[in-house]
Symmetry: C2
Subunit: 299 residues, 2 copies
């Protein structure tokens, strides 16, 4: 199987869980439709897949089944952030994954609440990994702590706030751009890997490898995203191509050019790969290929 096919197989397993996870929770019908509209709109399920793979690499047999609710919670958090980012008061995007964005399909109030609901349910799912699936409570709680920090106001939410402040500023210093992205997209990808290791019961050195792998592919992923916004078309992206430039956002290509951006992404992937050098087996192989695939998308 190609890495793309392997990714699809793993994403499908996450999908199977996501399809059911918001049901029978007493959620009002229209709100549930709005939450599922965005949660089940496809996507690579990169964050859950990363978590499951790191847990599989470092944990005992069956650990990936037991942490599935936790992995799914990452997709809930990612989805809520997309719904809120698309709102008129934020990036004002009408299109997401080739379909009307949530507030276009429903309405603004429902989109705000669907995001709030997904974020809150995410933490319920995390605790379910222990309460329903029997993972040790201290591991799960430590992962909740790490994830709340990554997704919160000093992480993902703060990154979006900084992004809004920087929008319209030309010549943003590269360091500020890097910090913003590290918060906005990097923190959750990093936490996905780190929490996979924590949930598997790994020791400190393994947890650090997972975290640093995540941090570096997170940067590469963002650079590639910026590059794709320039070189790809709207149909392939599922959202308007060239939207960064149209919104006056500084990006890696706008600050350092396309070729240098691509080469920088490759450098970050190489650093990430060093964190895999001490491991063996199918999960190591998968993570290795996945890291390469992130940057190969632009070639």
């Amino acid at each position: 199987m190609t890495i793309k096919e392997q990714l699809a197989v793993r994403a499908a397993r996450v999908e199977d869980f996501l399809v059911l996870c918001m049901r029978d929770r007493g959620i009002p019908e229209r709100l549930l439709r709005s939450m599922e509209y965005s949660l089940l709109a496809g996507g690579k399920r990169l964050r859950p897949v990363l978590m499951l793979s790191w847990a599989g690499l470092l944990g005992s047999e069956g650990v990936t089944d037991r942490i599935m609710p936790f992995a799914a919670s990452l997709e809930c958090i990612h989805t809520y952030s997309l719904i809120h980012d698309d709102l008129p008061a934020m990036d004002d995007d009408d299109l997401r994954r080739g379909r009307p964005s949530n507030h276009k399909q429903f309405d603004e109030a429902t989109a705000i609440l669907a995001g709030d609901g997904l974020l809150t349910e995410a933490f319920g799912l995390m605790s379910a990994a222990s309460i329903v699936n029997g993972l040790p409570a201290d591991r799960v709680l430590r992962a909740v702590f790490v994830l709340a920090k990554a997704a919160g106001a000093g992480g993902m939410v703060g990154g979006q706030a900084v992004d809004m402040e920087l929008t319209g500023c030309t010549d943003v210093p590269l360091d500020d751009l890097r910090t913003m992205h590290a918060m906005k997209t990097g923190a959750l990808i990093t936490a996905a890997c780190e929490c996979g290791a924590i949930l598997a019961g790994a020791g400190d050195a393994d947890v650090e490898n997972a975290r640093e792998f995540g941090r570096n592919i997170g940067v590469a992923f963002q650079i590639v995203d910026d590059v794709l916004d320039v070189v790809s078309d709207t149909e392939t992206l599922g959202k308007p191509a060239g939207s960064d430039e149209a919104m006056g956002k500084s990006t890696y290509p706008s600050l350092m050019g396309l070729e240098k951006s691509k080469s920088l992404a490759s450098d970050y992937v190489e650093i990430a790969l060093t964190r895999l050098s001490g491991y063996y087996g199918a999960e190591q192989e998968f993570l290795w290929q996945l890291a390469r695939y992130i940057v190969d998308r632009v070639y």
Copy 2:
């Protein structure tokens, strides 16, 4: 001390924690100001105080200090819900606690993100009750599970969604109104009491007493809120009086009249008090008086 003074003393203790809890977390400066603007805008701190008091009633010495981060997280969740409810796409309120609402003081994007940030940080604070303060992880995780359900799309968030749907409908059936309020405001008050008992390590019967006490004072609290919106003035409320009627919201007074509403609130408080009958001491006395105080505000 009167119950009002006792409540103020306990609120001040929560306040002391809230003042510091968002600092040194790497939150961008303007976002932090926006979060603290609403979090530190006063308020009775009813939910944390209820949690601390139930934990004090049922737990061992020092338990209230250890669960303080968890208690504070309730105020973060309550505050985020107010910020989002006030947004133009929702209730469109310009005034909150006598000051401009968050999106008026800052801007809409910042208000959305401040709410998202407070909600996410809340779960970080909950896990800190174990990771920093050493409470048993299984207790804390069970409380996280209960709280996520109460605050989520089948609870508080769902209640707001139903409230939006019902707004403008006259003659909403009383049962629908009760269900909506049970989700929108009741669920978090109920969870505050229940989680106080859980965090104290109480047994099932005590946890049930805490939960049912919370459920009943929650209903009473909402009825009284509706009554105050009719009989009070804008200055006392800190928000526009008569706003329910102006927005075409069905309320207890609009469906059953003022006197019947007041008497119904008293009935719920009486039911709540039966749940305190087996306990003794200062915390029992405080909870008893607090329950009475809720309904006394309208006399």
